[in-house]
Point group: C2
Chain length 96, copies 2
């Protein structure tokens, strides 16, 4: 299923800047970045649980926020893009 992860991390401190990098890096392990703080992750339920757990352990719950949106398995018609940085379809074969 496709899960959209969006986040806001308070980067006023060095620690916040570190958290931001860690959150992005963690999301990259599960999916692709489609906008600055928006990732699309194709995961199963176990992986989704794990992703939420790992991200929740990184952020400061007082100042940062995470949002997860489950778009199910038939998501291609549910997502539209306008403008710059069109992204790879997460399941398209990567031809290297």
């Amino acid at each position: 299923m496709l899960v959209l992860v969006t986040y806001d991390v308070n980067t006023e401190t060095k620690a916040g800047q570190r958290r931001l990098r860690k959150v992005a890096k963690k999301c990259e392990a599960y999916g692709i970045r489609v906008q600055n703080s928006v990732f699309e992750c194709v995961v199963d339920h176990t992986q989704f649980f794990q992703l939420k757990k790992e991200l929740s352990e990184i952020i400061n719950e007082e100042t940062d926020s995470l949002r997860f949106y489950q778009l199910g398995n038939k998501y291609k018609t549910k997502v539209e893009h306008v403008g710059a940085k069109t992204t790879l379809n997460v399941e398209d074969p990567l031809i290297l």
Copy 2:
């Protein structure tokens, strides 16, 4: 239906900063801000078409991007939040 709007606007120029404000203002007319550049809008198909059109007319398609995610009508179980700034449920009665 719930539509999630996420956007990246290039704010390196004054014009970009103006576009960012305009995009946010337009989204506020249709829904609520849940994170810095993430809005949740409960709209019908006509309103959704209108929202896309109006936002597309604001951005610079070379440098900015918009993404729309349709979460359907039964969306409450599809959305999870962790951390700061929990938001009002868009359809909860506002008790003033």
